[in-house]
């Protein structure tokens, strides 16, 4: 066990975590975050994506003990008027919605590094996230719209 403070969306959560505890379990079971979700358990679907210091992490694989004090962002921590959130809503970029928070956070990461991505760059950055409803056309539009408004 290790004592850590998980800093989630600006709030510090002190906790004791097992050595093998993954960040996703800490977020869901100890902090109460439900926007990060398990889809595969092997880092292959992106449904558990969170940002750690602005970098995307598969929370189903990351050990919680390594994130002591690191600024974690989850999709529910983004404001309603966040440019990416608003672009997703306006582009109808969701069906069942289960995977969408992961796409939102990947888009945040992409646009921070590359405010003017090409479609190929968007697809390359988001290809590790799976949307089984096949909402990719709307997702592509949403990312383009967010980029346009961010510039």
């Amino acid at each position: 066990m290790k004592a850590i403070k998980l800093n989630v969306n600006g709030t510090s959560h002190p906790m004791q975590v097992r050595d093998d505890e993954v960040l996703l379990d800490s977020l869901r079971n100890r902090v109460g975050v439900t926007s990060a979700r398990e889809g595969c358990g092997v880092g292959a679907c992106g449904a558990c994506t969170v940002l750690a210091d602005g970098r995307s992490v598969s929370a189903c694989l990351a050990h919680a003990r390594r994130y002591d004090g690191v600024a974690i962002t989850t999709a529910d921590g983004l404001p309603e008027d966040d440019v990416v959130v608003a672009a997703f809503v306006e582009s109808n970029a969701m069906q069942c919605g289960y995977c969408i928070p992961g796409f939102v956070l990947m888009t945040k990461e992409l646009l921070k590094d590359n405010p003017n991505p090409t479609d190929d760059e968007i697809a390359e950055h988001l290809e590790g996230n799976l949307c089984r409803c096949g909402t990719y056309p709307e997702l592509m539009r949403a990312v383009r719209l967010a980029a346009e408004r961010s510039r």
Binding site: G41, E80, Y98, I100, D120, R132, G134
Partner: protein, 798 residues
Amino acid sequence: MLEVDEKQPASTDSTATTSEDAPAQPADPDTLWGVGERRRRFDALGRVRGTIKYVGDEPVATDTAHVAICRSTRPHAVIASIGIDAAAAVEGVIAVVTGRDLFAEYGDRMYTGPAFADQPALAVDKVRYVGEPVVAVLAHDEPTARAAADLVHVEYKDLDAVYDIDAALEGTDYVHAELRPSSVFADLAHLSGVRDTNVNYEYRQIKGDAAKAREHAATTVEATTWAPPTHHVTIELPVTMAWVDSGRLEILTTTQTPSYVRQTASDLLGLPLARVRVRTRALGGGFGAKMYDRLEPLAAALAWKLQRRVRIATTREEAFLLTTRHGAQVTGSLSADSEGNLVASTADVRYDTGAFADVGPRIAAKSGMVVPGPYRIENVAVQSRCIYTNKVSAGPFRGFGVPQVTWSHETLIDELAHELGEDPYRFRRRHLLREGDIATMGTKMHSADFVSCLDAVAEAVGWDAPTPADDGPIRYGKGIAVGMKAVLTPTVANATLNLNQDGSATLLISTVEMGQGADTIMAQVAAEVLQIDSTLIHVVQADTDATPYDTITAGSRSTYHTGNAVRLVAERMRDRLIEIAAEQTGAQAEAISLTSRGISVDGQLTTTLPELVHRTFGARGATLTTTSNFTSWWHPYDKATGLSEKVTEHWFASAIAVRIGVDTRTGRIQTQHLAVAADVGKALNPTLVEQQLTGAAVMGIGHALFDQLVFDHGQMINATLLDYQLPSMRDMPEKMTPIVVEAPHRDGPFGAKGVGESGILGVAPAYANALRDACGIRLTRLPLTPESVLAGIEESTR
């Protein structure tokens, strides 16, 4: 890349509500967001920020017993012994339960299933596939339960296993000794018990004399096509919780079929329906994976036996073991006379349903009906069988077996066109069924505009424009295909509407919201009838204590069936309100109408809806209630010929066209353009319709190009998302065009029919037909992997 043609008005993005809690009223009182409007999902923001709650987000009560399942390691074996002592001794373990324990409690009632009662909640004495649940271990937390389940020791005596449909039909080994019908659904009421066979259902369609017609035909093409088993892979993993409260069983579960689950639990536990409550929440995808008997019978059996709260969660690997899409082989032929008329169609269809029939018999029949395709054909001989093997069970999957037979008929007609030197688009067009034509199974066509769908996709991809010349190793081609599917019939939908005194409304239906936007369009239907803003109508999530019976949320049936129930319930409410207004004003009912601003008498606004209801009850917050039922009907098909003058309530018609480039060095297929069209009768919400079309097509691209489950001696060997490939954003066509065709259905709600499956039907054959056009090779086994494309090219140049 990824350009999408959409005729979406710019205004869409600025007006619909975005709050996940309390939808703001639109500024304009005349904007109802009713039928035909591109209303956004009411909970769009919650879906984007991840704040809407799925079943797995429900807090876990501290008294919960977490269930881990010890699964069979053998495809077919007798259980010689089960050692549970080591597992039971683990600290934190509450109970270890075997199939024999459940049998002692429930007897034969522990066998469930939508067609045959062939699925034991836990295996009893015998296992029938690798992965079958054998022992349940309940513990205070999930890791403990899983660790203890690993300590269960099962001794097996292997039996000869039936690995594939050919072995199954040889009939030396049987997956089940005897079959017992479960008698849950009207369309499966005719099933009977049989012994000593692996064929649990056979549908035949006999029209004219196909053998003779084929003999005299000028040209016949033949093909044996194979569509492999695939998996739904809903990103949300299935999870079920069950507990006992005051002598009632309550279940909260990821299901598309709450009404069915209630019946199953009631039968299993021997409880009246009123003592079983089944609830669900928004699902993280369904596609057929979350239907009928998944985790629920075991959860119900354990919760009732132990009288405590249980929770069964699944890992991705376990989710692969719950159900699959049927692998299917079709040996078919299509014949034309010297003038190119279609004179005969024959097919032998074999669905591999694995160890449990599930709903396979219905799939064999309903897709068997359309094996010849949507064409005018004089003579037909079809045999469609559902066959047991010792593998994971197969069940419903978007398209319900029809994509597998579309793969056959769209391969055959394409090849026949090539054989006759005809253009594949125009050859199809010539033979397609038109309004009023009688389809091969004997049913008259209505609201199934195949021709407009075909024309639309051909035009979208520029069918007559020249195909680019070879670009080095890249060869280009175009392909086209149509799809035809019947809606499940007969089925039942009910609705209850509570009009609240403030003019808002609460709609109770058991349709499950799983991403398709049903909650949104049902509110739009009610809003249109009542002339109130649809954002003021809340749709209650399925809860069998409150929401009335609905057959299933599947098979694209909700828009038409539940939509009709909702239309009717709103019409009854409208009539009731007019009656009340007549009483209050003394005006004739004929002079009264509902408008977006209130109650109008002779065209004059006299009162508002809240005032009207308030005067009725003299209380704020009162509710006015109406109920409705909509039940579709059919003529059961003749069991010898498969023919029926009305085999279905309505048809789905769709078409796909693609333009592709094939890299002849790597075998890789790139898509320049995919167009998908479907006749939806009337688009209740065009944005959601287009999304269903492109979403289904994306799923179809996976099935066309790479998606497949691989088995080795009955064991699934690629059941992780590291090994099982699914379409990602990188697999998208450079351009996608969804096209809405509207040939209104005379009985549809505002003319509407469903759309969830239409877009997937023709995708795989459209690709194979484009490959034929590009490289001159005809592949008949899916998926069209780079390896199979290269092998095909190599063979053709040998």
